[in-house]
Symmetry: C2
Subunit: 129 residues, 2 copies
C-alpha cells in the first residue's frame, strides 16, 4: 500500500492559502446558499457520510475514503447520523465547526514543508479571510 | 445518538493552548524517545490503528473511535498499514506531519467559540511553542 505523503504542490504559503480559500468557499456555500440541498443529501441513517470541500471549489457529501491511510486529513465522519437529533441550525453549526477544524488540518498538512515563519504567514493570511 | 458539540472547557485561548501543548508533548514523546515502543505497537497489518495524544499527557495507539460522529476530530487512521512500505524515519515523519495537522484541528475545534482575535492569539502562542 502506498504511504500517504505531502504532495509537492502547493509549496508556498500563498498556495496553501489559495487551497484553504477555495475549499472554504465551497463549504460555506454548502452550509448557506446550498443548505437545503446539503441537508437533503444527509438523509441516510445507516451510511456514514462526510462533507468535503474540494480544491476545485465544489462540495460533496459522500462516505469517507475507503482506503486508509488517506492522502489528506479526513473531515468529520457521520455528519448525517446526528442530523435529526438537533435543530437544523444547530446541526449546520456543528458541521461548520468541524469543517473549520478540517480546513486547518488540511492547510497544516499541505504546509508541512513550509518553515515556521511561512506557516505563520499562512495563518495570518487565513485570519483576514 | 448524541450529536458532537464543542465541550465547554477550555473556553479561553490559554486553555486551548494548554490542551495543544499537552497533546503535542505526548505525541513528540511517542515519535522520539518512545519511538521503538510506538513502532512496535503499529505492527498489525489488518487492524486500523491511530496515534492519539491525550490531554493528560499520555499517548496511545488504538483503533479509531467506533461511534461516529466523534466528539473531537480524529487523527489519521491506518498509520500501521503503511509502516513497512517506507523507511522508519520516513514513516515517523509521515505520522508526525499528520499528527501536527490533527493537533491544529483539535485546537480549532476546541476554540470554535473564541473570537477571531482570540483564535489568532492562540495560533500566535502555538507558533512560539
Amino acid at each position: 500500500m502506498s504511504p500517504p505523503s505531502p504532495p509537492p504542490p502547493p509549496p508556498t504559503h500563498r498556495g496553501v492559502f489559495e487551497d484553504f480559500s477555495t475549499r472554504r468557499t465551497a463549504l460555506i456555500r454548502a452550509l448557506t446558499t446550498d443548505r437545503d440541498e446539503f441537508y437533503g443529501f444527509c438523509n441516510s441513517e445507516t451510511e456514514i457520510l462526510c462533507l468535503y470541500g474540494h480544491d476545485d471549489g465544489s462540495w460533496e457529501v459522500k462516505p469517507p475514503e475507503p482506503m486508509v491511510p488517506t492522502m489528506l486529513p479526513e473531515p468529520m465522519t457521520g455528519i448525517n447520523l446526528c442530523r435529526n437529533d438537533v435543530s437544523r441550525v444547530d446541526w449546520l453549526s456543528i458541521v461548520a465547526i468541524h469543517s473549520d477544524a478540517w480546513l486547518m488540518s488540511v492547510s497544516f498538512f499541505l504546509g508541512a514543508l513550509l518553515t515556521s515563519d511561512e506557516r505563520y504567514t499562512s495563518v495570518s493570511t487565513i485570519k483576514y479571510k
